[in-house]
Symmetry: C2
Subunit: 216 residues, 2 copies
DNA sequence: TTACTTACTTAATGTTTATTAAGCAAGGGG
DNA sequence: CCCCTTGCTTAATAAACATTAAGTAAGTAA
């Protein structure tokens, strides 16, 4: 018995690091944040419940007590809003994106989670496909609006007019901005010194805005 | 003896679909291309040897007979050059990238494989990390050169001068172009009607080239 | 005290998985 | 006819995994 149960009630020392139980916050949320970290670092398929449980100092079944299944846990993680940065509306959103990229280079967090999981979700049978499809749809609209907001008024009509492919220039620019942020994150994760996420993001935004301010 | 061998020589009907054995090409290459397709569709972690074997109408051990391990198979897949499109040098490479994006929207292939696997490789412990790190390093240099080639001669000096972050504008643009292609692929896989990969790629390239043709 | 809730644990189950070992079959060359 | 290579097979193994069931322990409320 003693060999399998090293510490019957102490909540900390089982795994390698437990994020300070403090005042008993919602245990659920604690697990959620830990799971988010692990999913961000390892992806969904490559993460086992045992991995997450180990970081919390509990067993896999302990995790499933709070969330019925691994998929449910993923869903809850995606639903978890990171309230530390409320996305602003209008043209300031574009600056917010650069700031986000900046912050992410020092403290990888939510965006890394999304970059890793969104690419993974593009594969067959992934449980987060619909979630990411919807997310991108919303983001493209919001960022598209933000791009329009930054254009001089006389250029907005052209940027809102669908081209031969059925998409507006503003929408295309929005897709590009999102894509560049996701793609940069991958390059940065593989080689942090090789790219400066914030400056490249800013460059692309500026270049696109300038481009939409001309006749095509 | 006859009880152990249900079908002594027929090679086809075991799985659900075998891609026409034809004239016996290198079996190795046949397996390689099948594996590439499955990896592109499902990712590496989410693909089992049984998946690949089933598409070939053989057993998992049959696959491992040609490649010692699943990781070796992945390595071989990445090393496999798709000779159908030789990447041109110089400024024409940028047009080539748009063409590639165009072709990929109709027949997902190599690029999808790379988009899916590169994001996956950014997670911990992935066997393809070094491969993708090197690939991105080479690509950034090549595309950076191509960007310079397209600039008017009087702008090349500025675009080759490192900024405060230690990277050249041309290098930043190259990272952006790669990132946008990878990121767009993900959006497109999730929602093919929502983005036009080729036109957005072209838009970003044009916008970046125009931007580097100004004083910053 | 009783009862209920929260937060787990142990144990078991059944599946999936990569990998190894050994053998079989066919075809070609000698 | 024998041998070697190519291309598999069956069988076995050992591990990892998600999930379920049932039980335990502590705290809280009545």
């Amino acid at each position: 018995m003693s060999e399998t149960t090293p510490a019957p009630d102490t909540r900390a020392p089982a795994g390698s690091e437990a994020p300070t139980p403090r005042k008993r916050v919602n245990r659920r949320e604690q697990i959620l944040r830990t799971a988010a970290d692990v999913f961000a670092a390892q992806g969904f398929n490559n993460t086992s419940l045992a991995d997450i449980a180990a970081m919390l100092g509990i067993t896999p079944a302990g995790v499933l007590h709070h969330f019925g299944s691994k998929t449910d846990l993923l869903t809850a993680v995606l639903e978890l809003r990171d309230d530390t940065d409320p996305a602003p509306e209008g043209s300031r959103m574009l600056d917010h994106l650069v700031t986000t990229a900046e912050r992410n280079a020092t403290r990888p967090g939510t965006t890394q989670l999304y970059a890793v999981l969104s690419a993974e979700s593009a594969t067959d049978q992934h449980p987060a496909q619909e979630w990411f499809r919807d997310r991108y749809t919303v983001l493209r609209r919001e960022i598209g609006d933000a791009v329009l907001d930054r254009l001089a008024p006389e250029h907005r009509a052209a940027a809102s007019t669908p081209g031969p492919d059925g998409h507006t220039p503003a929408g295309a620019a929005a897709a590009a901005v999102i894509a560049v942020m996701d793609g940069l994150q991958v390059q940065w994760l593989l080689d942090p010194d090789a790219v400066d996420m914030a400056s490249v993001t800013g460059l692309v935004i500026d270049a696109l805005v300038a481009r939409l301010s001309q006749e095509g």
